[in-house]
Symmetry: C2
């Protein structure tokens, strides 16, 4: 069966985004600092159609976590477009060719027809909860893995429900002080540390979640 994984950047004080998220500032104040390690890599740049970037541990980690993924799941806020019923002109933050290249199941309270983008990404809007979204993602992924892409609330919900197999954190040397807290209200899952890697700017730690 597919492994359900999560990879997410987090501040040392446990936030996956800064405070005061908005359409102009989707990662919240200071939130972009959590992703600096990734943006510097060749892997991220190639995934976003750019040349150049660094090869190294961070690039390798990014390659690995995005490999073999057959479907993504994300929260409504990560997809963006504001709260409430959809403004159908909103097609995500990523332009016409989003960096997912698989079906993406967006958790929402508001129905919407699937949205097919370039490069193999189709956004499906799931209104009947995280288990239904996972079921659809499993069907779409076949024998590939499923990545819960974020944000913090979606990850916390899957972890709390015992539906996550692996948690891959990229711990940035950043203290945000406020924002979207990861690993809160998740009960007390048992974790096993599988792997630790680091570059000078980030610590990558991979955990298995015991069922």
């Amino acid at each position: 069966m597919s492994t359900v994984t999560c990879q997410i950047s987090v501040s040392l004080d446990g936030f996956a985004a800064g405070p005061n998220q908005s359409l102009d500032n989707p990662l919240g104040e200071g939130g972009e600092r959590l992703h600096e390690w990734a943006l510097a890599t060749e892997s991220w740049r190639a995934e976003h159609g750019k040349e150049g970037g660094e090869r190294g541990v961070d690039s390798e980690v990014l390659d690995e976590v995005t490999q073999g993924i057959g479907a993504h799941i994300m929260g409504r806020r990560m997809f963006g477009g504001g709260d409430g019923p959809w403004d159908e002109s909103w097609t995500g933050w990523w332009g016409e060719n989003p960096p997912y290249h698989t079906p993406v199941f967006v958790l929402t309270h508001h129905a919407r027809e699937p949205l097919t983008m370039k490069g193999g990404t189709t956004f499906h809007f799931v209104t009947d909860g995280i288990e239904a979204a996972l079921q659809q993602a499993r069907a779409a992924a076949a024998d590939q893995d499923i990545l819960v892409a974020g944000g913090a609330s979606a990850v916390n919900q899957y972890l709390a429900a015992g539906l996550l197999d692996e948690l891959h954190l990229h711990i940035a040397p950043v203290i945000l002080g406020a924002g979207e807290r990861l690993l809160t209200d998740v009960g007390q899952p048992t974790l096993e540390q599988l792997e630790v890697r680091s570059s000078p700017v980030v610590t990558h730690v991979k955990y298995r979640v015991a069922r």
Copy 2:
């Protein structure tokens, strides 16, 4: 000048002790799980007068962080004995030969005469704040380093005041869900990741705090 360091074990969700700390359960519910990595080492056992234990990365880290320390600082709750005026029969959690072997400056609101233990540990009770305690620790440490031993509140206060030079976290693969939160209300200090080491049961990350 002496380096002011901190080394502390923390859960993956950011707690340095579990909820409901008490005299019977000084680390709070589940808090002992943060220290399992240390208790297994030869270093910890030798420091506490016990034989045996494991040699390896965790043991090396523990040796290094306790080396060259000329004075310790700790919060009142870490020294223990309950809140309010002192019960002078309370001489700490550690028996007659505490594992500090230096002067230890205890932050408290209640005056008390210094308490000399075996093995070179003398507890000094400082009632005029964290800066005064640091000044006394600097005088006592001479050219050796000063270790802020905990708990979370003492570490947070020194970090918030810009008085900490280095922060050495031992991140345990444990989610406590509640307790004494580290790295909260500390402002937004700038951190530089200096070193990452790991064993199968814990991730050690050392940061420099920019002044």
